[in-house]
Symmetry: C2
Subunit: 168 residues, 2 copies
DNA sequence: ATTTATTTTCAATAAGTTTTGAAAATTCAA
DNA sequence: TTGAATTTTCAAAACTTATTGAAAATAAAT
């Protein structure tokens, strides 16, 4: 397979994969392009490679920066801004986990905590099923929270990081 | 907080949460409603509770059944079909993991396998970055695959299941 | 076999999301 | 400063996905 063909295939599939996970197709494609680019690239390169508008590139690179997956890079002597993605996949994964946890899991757990205090007779079937469901999800969510924290800290901590190399 | 208020809040949040994960809002809401319903309920009840059309209920309950999260229940003497959701959150989670793994992770790993064979000089920076990225994602994906298999099998296996109770 | 209840399908429509592109804002150099 | 290069914004348009609802299909009862 030729490189150009493989690149196109990867970018397109990564985009499709992203949409299944609630990530904007273009954002995923830009990320894919940056992952396989050995050097930082400009807005114009992204526009040309993916055939998308300047505004679109601008919005989605910003979003990728917000997620901590991409950096703006200043190249001495160059007027334009360049973009570069974190290439270590383990770091990419922990960064995504960290963000989704903060944006989604933590608020959900907070909400569930509030929903557990219900007026009404605990013997009432409806009340019982409701509180049990909420408690079950909360317990599961809290465990997931802890497991994810371990993963995230593993990346930031030298000792576990070293252990992790055997796993990676 | 009153039960009715808490229910509405839970269903609505579960739906919003779902959309962030690439799951149709209505499907997530129906799932939420079934999770907190002590007894199986009919299409009409779902229509009334969520204010949605019959066709919508029909499509989304089918999808939930496909995902293995909901069952059709026949109640003796009743003409209508009833629906009931698996209530054990751990089982719900492993079922979702199992399905997403099958539908998304496995095909992605297959694709990455194909993309690793690239014509071209391995010293070429472009080729090098591409193959390294693909290899990195593939390695990570394979590890995730293994970890998820352990989780899934834990649910299906008595011994690990017993161990798991300490964790749950 | 016919009627009645119930479920399923799917074209049309509505709702939601993403993308464009041109104007405004910003940045840098002369 | 002023002007050119570059980035950002955001209303309008394009595209995608979800929902409706009525007709067709199926299943059960008489």
């Amino acid at each position: 397979m030729k490189l150009s063909e493989a690149k196109a295939q990867f970018i397109s599939s990564w985009g499709a994969f992203g949409t299944q996970w609630g990530i904007n197709r273009t954002m995923a494609q830009i990320h894919a392009l940056l992952l396989i680019s050995p050097d930082p690239i400009t807005q114009d390169t992204i526009m040309a490679e993916l055939n998308i508008s300047r505004g679109n590139v601008n919005m989605n690179t910003r979003e990728l920066i917000d997620w901590g997956l991409v950096d703006r890079v200043l190249i001495p002597g160059e007027r334009k801004e360049f973009f570069s993605a974190e290439k270590d996949i383990w770091k990419v994964a922990t960064q995504i986990i960290k963000e989704r946890k903060k944006r989604e899991l933590d608020p959900m757990l907070k909400l569930l905590g509030q929903l557990e205090k219900i007026d009404g007779q605990a013997k009432d079937r409806d009340v019982k099923q409701f509180t049990e469901t909420i408690a079950g999800i909360r317990k599961f969510g809290n465990q997931a929270d802890k497991v994810l924290d371990v993963m995230i800290r593993a990346e930031e901590n030298w000792f576990t990081g070293t252990l992790l190399k055997f796993f990676k």
